[in-house]
């Protein structure tokens, strides 16, 4: 009788187990994934250098060249006339995160080909959680890049208020999540490594140029109202504006709402795409290996 009861207990325990991971185990998993992504990032020194050089080229050369062409009027959040180079810093920050988001998506495609993605996906923790961990890890890496860039920019004379370095952090977390989630969604759709060139042409460039990163939208409207409308609907514009306001200690609620909304949307899409039953992976039959 006792044995029976014990065995029934065990069966019950087993039945209860499908949710059988403690919070500590979830935390260990998250920590492990962030740790690995950071280690990998530090090992790939060229990736760090190019992540830093890309926005600096824009800042040192492009902004200097355009300084006289584009006059800046006083628009929020700025309270005084600013130099063009100061204007484009938030855009460049967002660009860093855009590239990083796409690159971690590239690394997911690469991982998938190398099989690392498969080792991630055979973890017994829920898949949506694994993807969220991956997303957070990518965002953490993008923060490293952004702050490295802001430090160099400071020496170049881009000196937002000191408190701005702190207030911009939550904005960067949100925009990093949004752009990372977009990258993840794209990674589930593109099949091959080479397609990153396509991502550049069809995602990165249009998103970057049709936004408020390089020019204020009111200037765009003078030239082309249609393009200005596109800019206003572009989620990347809102990532830029969120960072721009936050860097000066202000909140742009509209942009925050758009960024949070888009993050949820892209992430839901990515989780769906990586779902084994409904996912695109299964539909494509991309098993790796011979069959």
């Amino acid at each position: 009788m006792n044995a029976l009861a014990a065995s029934a207990d065990r069966t019950a325990a087993r039945r209860d187990k499908p949710r059988g991971f403690t919070l500590a185990q979830y935390a260990i998993c998250l920590k492990g994934i962030v740790w690995r992504e950071s280690l990998r990032f530090l090992h790939q020194r060229e990736r760090f250098v190019s992540a830093l050089v890309r926005p600096l080229v824009w800042l040192f050369i492009f902004a200097a060249g355009f300084r006289q062409v584009l006059g800046m009027s006083i628009i929020p959040p700025y309270q005084t006339y600013i130099l063009y180079s100061e204007y484009i810093v938030p855009g460049l920050i967002a660009m860093i995160q855009l590239f990083n988001g796409m690159q971690s998506s590239l690394s997911m495609v690469y991982d998938r080909e190398m099989g690392n993605m498969r080792t991630l996906l055979v973890s017994p923790l829920p898949r949506w959680y694994l993807l969220c961990c991956k997303l957070l890890a990518g965002t953490a890496v993008s923060l490293l890049q952004v702050y490295a860039f802001l430090i160099v920019a400071w020496f170049w004379g881009i000196e937002p208020p000191l408190l701005g370095y702190l207030t911009v952090l939550p904005a960067l977390v949100f925009s990093g999540l949004m752009l990372g989630a977009l990258g993840m969604l794209i990674s589930s759709v593109i099949k091959q490594l080479e397609n990153f060139a396509g991502v550049m042409n069809f995602v990165i460039f249009p998103m970057f140029f049709a936004s408020s990163a390089l020019y204020p939208i009111w200037r765009v409207r003078e030239g082309s109202p249609a393009l200005a409308a596109v800019c206003e609907w572009n989620p990347f514009t809102h990532a830029v504006e969120l960072a721009r306001f936050a860097l000066y200690g202000q909140a742009n609620w509209l942009s925050l709402a758009v960024v949070v909304g888009c993050t949820a949307l892209f992430m839901a899409g990515a989780i769906l795409a990586y779902d084994p039953a409904r996912g695109l992976l299964a539909r494509r039959g991309e098993g790796g290996g011979a069959t």
């Binding site: 185990q25 492990g32 990998r40 055979v122």
Partner: protein, 252 residues
């Protein structure tokens, strides 16, 4: 259906890629503490079956269970009891052996200290203790495979599945790895599913599952397959069953 202590149950599994049928009503079981060879040519459906067992894709038809946990309904429990060695190399080349192992343990919710202790034991068993701090890039192919097997065992699974684990290795490494996995079966009571197209990896007492064109054409102890087909050796038995010859062991 009682599945008792079966390590793996595959029951009526079919899988299509679009119109192409990759697996057709595949059924077999692997008992605990047994060594089962999934024998088939490239393209027979072995990798698809692995994708289903590891839940990369959902099972379209049929049922797969690890111990008594249905992969579709209780994936967490099933995956927790499952160790996998993929055909492709899946270690991070730029990280050290220990870093790779600690990362994998974290994916199973195992903390760093515990992971390092377990990894130390497992590395000692495969005679790689002195390489724990080395970058994986600097290991030989056979050593990487051994590390991957150690990694698959970190979370103490009851079923170990290996997809063509000896492909591309020299004869000595192949024998080492095969011997090591057989020892796991004998000493730790782990159930093993070993997919291969190399017939010389099969021992007389092994269970052999012959997979061809997505269908199971034979399933039983190697000796029984010989008796059933009236063949003199397993190679002939395979030819009789499938109507085509099988590859020999890869030359070193």
């Amino acid at each position: 259906m009682t599945i008792g202590n079966r390590a793996l149950t595959v029951d009526g599994v079919s899988h299509n890629y679009g119109a192409r049928r990759a697996l057709d009503r595949v059924s077999f079981a692997v008992e605990a503490a047994s060594f089962a060879v999934l024998l088939g040519l490239n393209g027979a459906g072995k990798s698809t079956l692995f994708s289903l067992i590891t839940r990369l894709y959902a099972t379209q038809r049929g049922r797969i269970a690890v111990l008594d946990h249905d992969v579709a309904r209780a994936p967490g429990e099933a995956l927790r009891l499952l160790g996998v060695v993929f055909q492709a190399r899946t270690l991070d080349l730029d990280l050290s052996v220990m870093q790779n192992l600690v990362y994998h343990a974290a994916l199973h919710g195992i903390g760093k200290r515990e992971a390092q202790a377990r990894a130390g034991e497992l590395l000692a068993r495969i005679a790689l203790s002195d390489r724990a701090g080395d970058k994986v890039r600097n290991l030989s192919g056979g050593q990487m495979r051994r590390v991957e097997i150690a990694r698959a065992l970190l979370h103490r699974p009851r079923l170990l599945v290996l997809d063509e684990p000896t492909v591309g290795l020299d004869i000595r490494s192949r024998a080492d790895i095969l011997g090591h996995v057989r020892k796991l079966v004998a000493e730790d009571g782990i159930g093993v599913l070993w997919a291969t197209h190399l017939i010389d990896e099969v021992a007389d007492t092994d269970q052999v599952i012959v997979l061809h064109d997505g269908r199971v054409l034979g399933d039983g102890a190697a000796g029984r397959l010989l008796a059933d087909t009236g063949a003199a050796n397993l190679r002939e038995a395979f030819t009789t069953l499938t109507g085509g010859p099988l590859a020999t062991g890869e030359a070193a």
